[in-house]
């Protein structure tokens, strides 16, 4: 990797990290949608942060609020139905929620980028792919058509698309799914943003293609030191690629911590439930899968107290009445680990005893990750 690249990366970082360790800080964010049916509390008091160059995985079921938080960062939440009763999103010293549209526009696509789930519908079908990539460059960098297009072709090559010059003149429907997502990545990383929000980037793709796309993201991240927020419902994806994980449930943060700790020492009943329900390679065939009973709650009528209590095996009276605060928990090794659960200790005990949550037998090289 050329030294120039590293220099560029660190310059960008120097511009944006007020505090060396925090690139983006979401603080007590609430996003409520006022609809005819009631107020949908999509995000209800969520805080998280991303450090430069790290990969934060945000995991949760559909309706957990994970996508909406990311949209809030980008300022893409439609504001008539949506409102922000509380919260700040701090980025390079500014609260993104308080910025004017023009200032936000300067950030979108340039400092913070987002890629979405379905690359077929996320690309405009009537414009050429190369043009759509060049567009983001032209908007932010005042580049002419020809140099912008040249850069677009280079980007297509960087994301591993063969025949980039020819492909740049083609339309999205002429690309395969994996290639489209690569093109979207090219578009998102064109201006070297310091933060990339990836909302279910591989969900719409075949499994083999998923791995390729993730590898591409990892490679680009290493080269450019981009921080990535990986939003997904796929625990396996997060396990392979994230540094830290945030688990969301019903618009609130359930648990957050280093990846190993989340997977091997969960402290929230929901996380424990998720992990227990996973099918594992080393699981015996006769063992039954253990799903979490019930359904995720409606965000209009969120249960009182801890939103997970109706489905929780550890639930008691206090869970029904008091919202558990997000508090630090003891873990064996590693950074800050927070969980919002009244019965963290019981969860810890259950996890330690569970065959499911045990690490896979480490191989001869001592690596404990699958």
């Amino acid at each position: 990797m050329a030294t120039e690249d590293m220099a560029v990366g660190s310059d960008a970082l120097a511009r944006f990290a007020a505090d060396d360790h925090v690139l983006l800080s979401v603080q007590d964010l609430r996003v409520h949608f006022h609809t005819d049916a009631g107020v949908v509390k999509a995000v209800d008091g969520v805080s998280w942060s991303v450090a430069p160059g790290e990969t934060l995985g945000i995991v949760g079921e559909s309706g957990s609020g994970k996508s909406v938080s990311a949209m809030a960062v980008m300022g893409l939440v439609p504001v008539p139905p949506g409102r922000f009763p509380s919260g700040r999103i701090m980025f390079s010293g500014r609260d993104l929620l308080k910025l004017h549209e023009e200032e936000l526009r300067g950030i979108r696509g340039k400092d913070v980028s987002m890629i979405f789930q379905d690359p077929l519908t996320s690309l405009n079908p009537v414009f050429k792919v190369g043009h759509q990539i060049a567009e983001v460059i032209q908007v932010h960098e005042k580049l002419g058509r020809i140099p912008a297009r040249k850069r677009a072709v280079e980007l297509l090559a960087e994301v591993g698309i063969p025949n980039p010059r020819q492909r740049a003149d083609e339309y999205p429907h002429q690309f395969s799914g994996g290639m489209r997502q690569r093109a979207m990545i090219a578009m998102a990383l064109a201006l070297d943003p310091v933060l990339l929000l990836a909302d279910e980037p591989t969900t719409a793709l075949d499994v083999t293609v998923q791995a390729q796309i993730m590898d591409l993201l990892v490679k680009l991240q290493e080269e450019r030191k981009t921080a990535i927020v990986l939003i997904t419902h796929d625990l396996g994806l997060v396990a392979a690629h994230a540094d830290r994980v945030l688990v969301m449930y019903a618009g609130k943060v359930a648990e957050v911590g280093d990846i190993d700790n989340i997977y091997y020492e969960p402290r929230h009943a929901y996380t424990f439930g998720l992990l227990s329900s996973l099918a594992r390679l080393d699981q015996r065939r006769s063992e039954r899968l253990d799903p979490i009973p019930g359904q995720p709650p409606s965000l209009i009528r969120v249960p009182t107290g801890c939103p997970f209590h109706p489905r929780c095996q550890f639930a008691t009276q206090v869970c029904r009445s008091e919202v558990p605060p997000l508090t630090p928990r003891e873990v064996a090794v590693g950074g800050l680990h927070l969980a919002a659960c009244h019965h963290s200790d019981e969860v810890a005990a259950a996890a330690a005893a569970s065959a499911h949550v045990m690490p896979i037998d480490p191989g001869p090289d001592g690596a404990s990750r699958p």
Partner: protein, 308 residues
């Protein structure tokens, strides 16, 4: 794309054949005495006329031959002769088509400008006063069918206010009321179609991506959204143009417009069958051809069709 056009062309030919069959049946087969319907009640007994017509249309030969003769005639532009005017239908059409064409063009221009803009405004400012205004206007205009709109406009603007002339087509001012009348229902529908399509498009994922790239709202709407929304609207307008070229019957009657529409209506009153069917043939032919052109245009506009 070539295959697409070819397919459409074949379809068009099939349709033309089918339509010509219907018209042939109407003119030659169903009326008891085709000569009667071709020559009119006055001249039907004139032996000279009978002989001319018989020869021209091969009326003594079997039906299939008659049909082919008819088809051949039509293809070469011979649409028969009006017995009221004693002139070839073709000549009459040729004379009046200019007026109809100009009127249709004016109407289309009006329709495009007002309809598209109204639709965009209604979609972008959804639920606002403008949206409500457009929606109400659309519903009312559609409900007030063309002939009602025409009469009312004529009454108010020509008669009562005297701003615009009552009928005829001499000056550009003469074009206004007829064109607006003609365009009224279509404009409403274009506006509604544009609004609906735009609303759908604005919900699309690629619009979200466009915003995520940092584009201005203006660019997103006028470039990304519009380019996708116009496709069905262009198709509609094209088809409409085909219809209008076929003769704006009601408008031409109300405003005494000397085009093929009023020629057709006069012919109906005079029971001048060849004229009626001749103009009908022309209308159908032009409508079908315009549809083909529109289809091709649609293929060009949508790259998903254009490229395999």
């Amino acid at each position: 794309m070539g295959k697409y056009i070819l397919r459409r062309l074949l379809q068009m030919i099939l349709v033309l054949i089918g339509a010509s069959l219907i018209l042939f049946v109407c003119l030659f087969v169903l009326p008891g005495d085709p000569i009667g319907s071709l020559a009119g009640s006055e001249r039907v007994r004139d032996p000279v006329v009978r002989e001319t017509l018989e020869k021209r249309y091969n009326l003594d030969k079997p039906l299939p031959v008659q049909y082919l003769t008819y088809l051949g005639n039509v293809a070469t532009g011979d649409l028969g002769e009006s017995f009221r005017l004693r002139r070839p239908v073709n000549d009459v059409i040729w004379e009046k088509i200019g007026n109809t064409f100009r009127l249709a063009l004016t109407a289309i221009v009006f329709e495009i400008i007002i309809g598209v803009i109204a639709g965009i405004v209604a979609a972008v400012f959804r639920y606002s006063f403008w949206d409500v205004l457009v929606t109400v206007a659309v519903t009312l205009t559609v409900g007030f069918a063309t002939f009602v709109t025409g009469l009312i406009l004529q009454q108010v603007f020509a008669l009562k206010l005297g701003w615009l002339p009552l009928s005829g087509q001499e000056t550009p001012l003469h074009y206004i009321l007829p064109a607006v009348t003609l365009a009224s229902v279509s404009t409403a529908l274009v506006a509604r179609l544009m609004r609906g399509t735009m609303l759908e498009v604005l919900r699309a994922d690629y619009i979200r991506t466009a915003f995520a790239k940092g584009l201005t709202k203006r660019t997103v709407i006028l470039k990304h959204a519009l380019r996708n929304s116009v496709i069905p609207v262009v198709t509609f307008i094209g088809i409409d143009f085909g219809t209008l070229l076929g003769g704006a019957l009601i408008t031409e009657v109300i405003f005494n417009w000397n085009g093929i529409g009023s020629a057709l209506v006069t012919a109906i009153g005079a029971q001048d069958n060849p004229m009626v069917l001749g103009i009908a043939t022309y209308s159908v032919a032009i409508f079908v051809v315009v549809n083909l052109v529109v289809d091709t245009l649609y293929g060009f506009l949508d790259p998903r069709i254009r490229l395999q």
